[in-house]
């Protein structure tokens, strides 16, 4: 008992002597929490780092009556690397910058085309950054996008970045791209990286598709139809809404929304040294509007529409597949990974030389759609 007590007292004294640790704690008020981080190209191989931080409430206008509103400030600095830029900003702002609440990393298109491996590596090594912070490629400069986000009228900018990401759930026009999976795919040997692609039109930020990377370089972007095709091929489509020309009425349109009722199947073979990729897609269609003359009760009509929708999707998906293989040579659908899994060792797979042959791929797309009633009123 005495020994225990002695030990506890001794430990206590030793701990008191650890007062050297006292001044090391940094409170929340000593940080600036970054909401959005932007990377732009600058002269002489420098980068321009921009950060969006909530401004000091004392300095903001006193008309801000809503308790939820806040304004943001953007600071930029030019440096050779991200860490150097953050260091300079720490000094300039007199408070330490903390990336724990960063919702988005915005990279300008021009910088992404030059290669971003070292910046992504640097961000990935940062212990503060969250794994699911979004990666956005902006057609204009990153500073421009952050400025538009700040002036968008949205109370919390972090929410706006979330909305950009969430559009994939109901429009299918882009993808979710977290910094973790983005960095993983950039280093990955069998899959190329993709990111959200945005455009700024008249002070409004729009998701405009998917940015396609080959290794660490941005090679192009996919438009909205191609993004939907990408989501269908990779089984990530939640829901999307499309319009096609009506087959019954001239100048008429059919609106429908699509989900997938079955997982997309992909079969890969090598024929004469070129990959032959066969994809079976199973969309479930719900017709929202097809004009007042369309008779839903006739199975002949439904069959005709099914056939038309199948052809429509086949065309979109084929255009997308040939674009990524011939124009970009970028395997963003992980076909290499899928084909590699049929081999027993990487040594056997390396004899195929997939990297060179992917550009010569040819595709076959089969779409088997199902049309469901959308419970619309008929003409009568």
């Amino acid at each position: 008992m005495k020994k225990n007590f002695f030990l506890i007292v001794l430990s206590f004294i030793l701990l008191i002597s650890l007062t050297g640790c006292e001044n090391s704690s940094i409170g929340i008020d000593d940080y600036y929490f970054v909401i959005g981080l932007g990377l732009d190209e600058a002269e002489n191989d420098y980068i321009k780092l921009s950060i969006q931080i909530p401004s000091n409430p004392k300095n903001s206008s006193s008309d801000a009556s809503s308790s939820q509103s806040s304004s943001y400030e953007i600071y930029s600095v030019e440096a050779r690397t991200i860490e150097e830029a953050i260091n300079i900003l720490d000094n300039y702002l007199n408070k330490q910058i903390n990336l724990s609440h960063c919702s988005a990393i915005v990279i300008s298109e021009s910088l992404a085309k030059k290669g971003i491996d070292q910046y992504i590596n640097s961000l990935n090594n940062n212990v503060e950054l969250r794994y699911n912070c979004q990666t956005i490629i902006s057609s204009s400069t990153a500073y421009d996008l952050l400025e538009k986000v700040s002036n968008s009228g949205e109370a919390f900018s972090a929410r706006l970045f979330d909305y950009l990401k969430n559009t994939t759930n109901y429009t299918g026009y882009t993808i979710e791209s977290s910094i973790g999976t983005f960095a993983h795919d950039i280093d990955s040997k069998f899959c190329e990286a993709t990111a959200i692609y945005t455009k700024v039109n008249n002070d409004i930020i729009q998701t405009a598709g998917i940015a396609v990377f080959k290794d660490q370089y941005l090679v192009g972007n996919l438009d909205v139809l191609e993004s939907i095709a990408h989501l269908m091929v990779t089984n990530k489509l939640n829901k999307c809404f499309l319009t096609m020309d009506s087959i019954f009425i001239e100048n008429g349109k059919i609106d429908f929304d699509t989900k997938l009722y079955k997982k997309t199947n992909t079969y890969i073979n090598m024929i004469n040294g070129s990959p032959f990729i066969k994809i079976n897609v199973f969309p479930e269609i719900s017709i929202l509007n097809s004009g007042t003359d369309f008779d839903y009760n006739s199975s002949y009509n439904v069959e005709k529409v099914t056939h038309a929708v199948n052809k429509y999707y086949e065309r979109i998906i084929k255009n997308y597949l040939y674009k990524i293989s011939k124009d970009y040579n970028s395997d963003i659908d992980c076909f290499q990974g899928l084909y590699q899994s049929t081999f027993l060792t990487k040594e056997d797979f390396s004899k195929i030389n997939w990297d060179k042959n992917f550009q010569n791929s040819f595709f076959e797309v089969n779409v088997t759609s199902r049309i469901y009633s959308s419970n619309l009123f008929n003409k009568e």
Binding site: K3, N4, L7, S11, L14, L18, G20, C21, N23, S24, S25, I26, S100, N125, V127, R130, Y131, N132, D162, G180, T181, H184, D187, S188, K189, F190, C191, C334, G337, L338, Q340, S341, F343, L344, T345, K346, E347, D348, F349
Partner: protein, 365 residues
């Protein structure tokens, strides 16, 4: 206060599990994955079978030595000289394991959570915990372990199931890795990963019921094999066996990527809490084993005082300035081959010679 406490079956199983799985907290899963690439599963099953076979052989060889650990057996085989040699080898292996784990882990938490602290304060907490644990006694240590190990196993399972669904599982193919030679021949050195063989030989004198020894060895082996396999799978999924990546704490990085929507994010701090307790327990057991070895070598009555020496030595070793590449070399080459030589060559040779001597003695009588 009782170091003559005899442990039951469950306590022994959990002690061996914590001694084996604590190396996951250091970077060993990263080195494993870098050696074999995507052939992780096949390689681990292959070395698991080899290890299991050696374990069964070890149990059979040790059957004739009642209530004896490796130090007692070496005394019976080669007298006092071999006993001291064996003791020193065991102490070296234990100190090296403890040093690597402590150095790795303390540098990680200093880098991430305590960037303004000096590493001396962080190490001091670990050393103090080990000292207190050894003074309070083996009984309490075995009992606190019963609480820790289920949480460690649950954490490993939770990490596995939360990551497996997210990452592209094509990382695990081709199944046989880069080549058959790399998976089966070069990958044979990965047998260090399940180092149960090093620790079970100290266990027999501590058991309440010696007949449980076989069950304890097999059950603890299976549990640690499953835990290590799960962590290796998610390490390969996340790191894609990229050799250019810095060997940082792979388990910490795994847990950083776990999130369920935006509600559950960044649970690495909770995980680190569990890791810290796991390391406390592991180091305390290692120092306890060192105390026992010293007691047997030099007939010391009160082995608790050896804790001071062992802890001070470990502390000063951890403060030794060592570069990252030297630490990498130590972990990936020195430790790996030392465990292999110790577990498969040294221990088995002593046991085989001991069995041989016993048989000759029996034939003479």
């Amino acid at each position: 206060m009782d170091n003559h406490y005899q442990i039951g079956k469950v306590e022994a199983i959990f002690i061996i599990v914590i001694l084996s799985t604590s190396k996951l907290i250091a970077n060993f899963s990263f080195y494993f994955v870098n050696t074999v690439g995507s052939g992780v599963i096949v390689n681990f099953i292959y070395i698991g079978i080899i290890d299991f076979a050696f374990m069964i052989l070890l149990i059979y060889l040790q059957q004739k030595f009642q209530n004896s650990d490796i130090i007692d057996i070496s005394e019976q085989v080669g007298g006092k000289l071999l006993k001291i040699l064996c003791g020193l080898v065991c102490i070296t292996v234990l100190i090296l394991s403890a040093f690597i784990t402590l150095k790795d882990f303390s540098s990680i938490i200093q880098k991430v959570y305590f960037s303004n602290f000096s590493i001396i304060y962080i190490l001091m907490f670990f050393i103090l915990a080990v000292l207190v644990a050894n003074f309070v006694g083996f009984k309490s240590l075995a009992r606190i372990n019963l609480l820790i190990v289920p949480f460690v196993i649950m954490a490993i399972l939770a990490t596995f199931f939360s990551i497996i669904a997210k990452i592209n599982n094509k990382s695990l193919t081709p199944v046989f890795g880069d080549s058959y030679y790399k998976t089966f021949i070069t990958g044979l050195s990965n047998v260090f990963m399940i180092s149960n063989l090093s620790y079970v030989l100290f266990l027999k004198p501590l058991l309440k019921n010696e007949s449980d020894y076989k069950k304890i060895c097999i059950i603890s082996y299976i549990i640690s094999w499953i835990c290590i396999l799960l962590v290796l799978i998610v390490t390969e999924l996340l790191f894609n066996s990229t050799p250019s990546k810095e060997p940082s704490n792979s388990v910490f990085l795994l847990v950083r990527s776990v999130n369920f929507g935006s509600f559950i994010e960044r649970i690495d701090s909770l995980f680190i809490l569990l890791c810290v307790i796991c390391i406390f327990s592991y180091l305390s057991f290692v120092v306890f084993l060192i105390n026992r070895i010293f007691k047997k070598l030099f007939n010391i009555t009160d082995e608790k005082m050896i804790s001071y020496i062992a802890c001070t030595f470990l502390f000063s070793l951890c403060l030794f300035p060592i570069s990252l590449s030297a630490l990498y070399y130590l972990e990936n080459y020195v430790y790996r081959y030392m465990i292999i030589l110790f577990s498969f060559a040294f221990e088995f040779s002593i046991l085989i010679i001991g069995n041989f001597k016993k048989r000759i003695r029996k034939e003479k009588t």
